[in-house]
């Protein structure tokens, strides 16, 4: 039995109203909330352009770690430039926290129709399910700047049902950050196979150095390690694993490759990781790595800027794609997923202005200046300067979509392998069985999404 939103909300308007009022009180009293209707109305009557009445568009995004200030600065620069082009348009940019705070604030703003543009992650299946972009977002397919983007990135992170619904500006890779000073001290080179990685770590240990830093609190941070190992050990043997999972609802987590992935993860973490890794707070990670006491940090590419902002005690920052398998070619593939981008909301009273602003953002020079400040992986082929892009650029030749954001809503299995890595209750073999059982048991929660993603989509997404 299906209830319409209107009917259900009509029935429980009081309850929902009270909950929203209690939980998200700021959403209706914020500057964005109050300014939008007053300033948007004239714009709806008068088309955008020089000489038109004043228009305000509201833009919201998350902020993260030490990148937050850089992000705000970059936004101000772009918006100042846009103001020169469209003097009658004011862009209100509001960062709204991170994690659950951001998600809840974003939902409140969209539900209250008080934002015109929202930041979004590059599409993963869960985003498509959650946002239904073809019904909620403005179609960006005809924007001229879309042509400037790498078309693989457009297909992976911006497209749904053949149209472009968001402009993904950046993507994330799971790599290993290195303290090059320490590696040079022991004459160590970036490894290309698992044996080399182990040998390198042994050398460091023999010299009383800590090979691997990791901050696994909260445990979801382990997802980055799991993403790297799955990409290099499991994926080469089962290239259609995730496609089969999303399109047909089929997955076997008990294959020898999965067991081998779990085994390597367990062995390596217990042997080479800082023993305190499970208790180290993730947000302190960049600062701790910058102290120079560690040789390597398996982590997201986005942390490069955070490491530099923490003023590392070592001279040179490096990075390599983690080699968890014995095949150097397979190890060269870096797991990636879409990061921040912009989507225009369909309900906006100023769709032309919103599209123009997004298009302006995507124009090569504006895009480049923005990404130069942010220093994330750019979705357009632009050359960025600085130690972080210099370390990362050689790693971007081979990429594939990471498993990090592939689970469908309701797939209640341990995607970060925390129960394997942070406790002794499972062996790799029993853990594989456990993951399979939880995946199968949770089927009623996610089965309804099977059929939403077809083989053509999977072909583009996993290309």
């Amino acid at each position: 039995m299906s209830l319409s939103r209107r009917r259900l909300l009509g029935s429980f308007a009081l309850g929902a109203g009270a909950v929203v009022a209690a939980a998200c009180g700021q959403s209706t009293s914020s500057p964005a909330g109050t300014s939008a209707p007053a300033t948007s109305a004239p714009a709806a009557a008068a088309p955008a352009g020089a000489g038109a009445g004043p228009v305000t568009i509201n833009v919201i995004a998350w902020n993260s770690g030490s990148s937050a200030e850089a992000f705000k600065t970059a936004m101000s620069q772009i918006n100042d430039q846009f103001k020169q082009k469209r003097p009658n348009v004011t862009v209100n940019f509001e960062p709204l926290g991170q994690g659950a705070t951001w998600t809840n604030a974003q939902m409140a703003r969209i539900a209250g129709q008080t934002t015109d543009v929202t930041a979004t992650y590059g599409f993963a299946p869960q985003d498509i399910i959650n946002f239904q972009p073809d019904t909620q977002f403005l179609d960006l397919s005809s924007l001229s700047s879309i042509k400037s983007f790498d078309q693989t990135n457009v297909a992976r992170f911006m497209t749904w049902k053949g149209k472009v619904w968001q402009m993904t500006l950046a993507y994330v890779g799971h790599i290993v950050w290195t303290n090059e000073d320490m590696l040079a001290k022991y004459n160590l080179k970036h490894p290309t196979t698992y044996a080399e990685l182990q040998s390198m770590s042994d050398t460091l240990k023999a010299n009383k150095e800590m090979p691997i830093f990791y901050a696994a609190k909260p445990q979801t941070a382990l997802n980055r390690l799991a993403s790297q190992i799955e990409m290099t050990v499991g994926r080469p043997k089962h290239p259609n694993f995730w496609s089969d999972l999303l399109v047909q609802g089929k997955a076997d987590f008990t294959t020898p490759e999965w067991v081998e992935s779990f085994k390597r993860a367990k062995e390596f973490t217990s042997k080479y990781f800082d023993p305190a890794f499970s208790g180290i707070d993730y947000p302190t990670g960049a600062g701790l790595f910058a102290t120079g006491k560690y040789a390597m940090w398996p982590e997201g590419s986005f942390s490069g800027g955070d490491i530099m902002a923490a003023k590392p005690t070592f001279q040179k920052l490096g990075a390599f794609t983690a080699p968890w398998s014995d095949d150097a070619d397979a190890n060269a593939v870096q797991p990636v997923y879409g990061d921040i981008g912009w989507a225009g909301l369909k309900y906006t009273k100023n769709p032309e202005i919103v599209l123009e602003w997004i298009d302006f953002f995507g124009q090569k020079e504006n895009f480049k200046s923005f990404m130069q400040v942010l220093q994330y992986y750019p979705t357009q082929a632009v050359d960025l300067t600085g130690p972080v892009p210099t370390a990362e650029a050689p790693l971007l030749k081979k990429t594939a979509v990471s498993k990090a954001r592939l689970a469908l809503p309701g797939m209640t299995y341990d995607t970060s392998w925390s129960e394997l890595l942070l406790s002794d209750q499972y062996t790799p073999e029993t853990y594989a069985q456990y993951v399979q059982k939880n995946f199968d048991d949770s089927r009623p929660q996610w089965q309804k999404y099977i059929g939403l993603f077809d083989a053509d989509w999977a072909k583009l997404y996993f290309s």
């Binding site: 039995m1 299906s2 209830l3 319409s4 939103r5 259900l8 909300l9 029935s11 429980f12 009081l14 309850g15 009270a18 909950v19 209690a22 659950a100 998600t103 809840n104 939902m107 969209i110 539900a111 869960q126 959650n130 946002f131 239904q132 019904t135 909620q136 696994a216 609190k217 909260p218 445990q219 979801t220 023993p275 305190a276 499970s278 208790g279 180290i280 707070d281 701790l288 954001r405 689970a407 469908l408 809503p409 309701g410 797939m411 209640t412 995607t415 925390s418 129960e419 890595l421 942070l422 406790s423 002794d424 209750q425 456990y434 059982k437 939880n438 048991d441 949770s442 009623p444 929660q445």
Partner: protein, 295 residues
């Protein structure tokens, strides 16, 4: 005036009653209804009526997670309730004995109650920091390498300690008020009969504290089954879900875990949690009230 005087108490009750209905009853009813839907919390997403499907999924598909959360909650609730009340009675008894410096001790023990969950959590978060926290350094002096909040074997017990520390002052004050309400004549009569201080504590103080025990035990049970704030600050339910109580699980399902963010399903867990609290509190209250009557 005379004819309307009887109405005024009810009129005065209206604001509080309205606040209670709109902020407690209606959201509670909303939660019970959302537990029967696949509500995702996402704007403009369709909400489908799924009947008891969420309950079925929780009891069958989510069995592993439910049993684990129930186990963690049981350990958490039992240990906190027993140890917190035991310590609180003991401290209240000592403070009631007119020892020197009792006001200072009372303030120190009560201080965490004023600080609140976030400050208490962050304080111990720093104390337990595996890279140089004071507790870690102290244990290192004893030759113990500690990672109390990051170790699956110790995280829950570290959280239990902080929970007790944070709430001990409140329980202690309730017991102290109870003890100060016991007439001095009772103890004088005991003295005449030759009771020792320990015997007086056991056979006079404890029985006469029964109403305070009922209140404290019920509050501890309800607080530990439904609470999540300290756990959220300290461990987030980890490592490996070893400190994920029912309350923490509800929060994570409703708000936090991005790919499993299912408020409808979270509402189902919340309803199970409510039924559990209701049943346990009912049984505990029945037993404690009977005990009060006997004593």
């Amino acid at each position: 005036m005379g004819r309307t005087a009887g109405i005024w108490p009810y009129v005065c009750l209206v604001p509080a009653l309205a606040a209670f209905i709109f902020l407690e009853i209606v959201p509670a009813l909303g939660t019970s209804i959302f537990s029967l839907t696949d509500y995702s919390g996402l704007p403009h997403a369709p909400i489908n009526w799924v009947g008891l499907q969420n309950y079925h999924d929780l009891l069958t598909g989510g069995q592993t997670f439910l049993i684990r959360a129930l186990q963690v909650t049981a350990i958490f609730s039992l240990l906190v309730t027993v140890v917190q009340n035991g310590l609180a009675v003991l401290i209240a008894w000592l403070l009631n004995s007119r020892l020197r410096g009792q006001i200072t001790v009372r303030v120190l023990v009560f201080l965490p109650v004023v600080l609140g969950a976030t400050v208490n959590g962050l304080t111990w978060y720093v104390m337990f920091n595996p890279l140089g926290g004071p507790v870690t350094l102290l244990l290192a002096e004893l030759g113990i390498r500690a990672n109390l909040l990051g170790n699956a074997a110790t995280a829950l017990y570290a959280v239990i300690w902080v929970q007790i520390w944070a709430n001990l002052g409140f329980s202690m004050m309730v017991y102290l008020a109870g003890m100060q309400g016991i007439p001095a004549e009772v103890y004088e009569a005991g003295k005449i009969d030759g009771t020792s201080p320990w015997s007086a504590f056991r056979h006079l103080t404890i029985p006469l504290l029964a109403p305070s025990i009922t209140i404290n035990v019920l509050l501890a049970i309800i607080g530990t089954i439904t609470g999540y704030e300290l756990i959220f600050v300290l461990t987030d339910g980890g490592p490996a879900f070893t400190s994920q109580t029912l309350g923490m699980w509800v929060f994570n399902q409703a708000f936090f875990i991005s790919n499993n963010r299912l408020p409808g399903y979270a509402a189902t867990i919340a309803m199970v949690q409510f039924m559990l609290v209701f049943a346990i509190a009912l049984v505990a209250q029945y037993y404690l009230r009977r005990r009060e009557a006997v004593l």
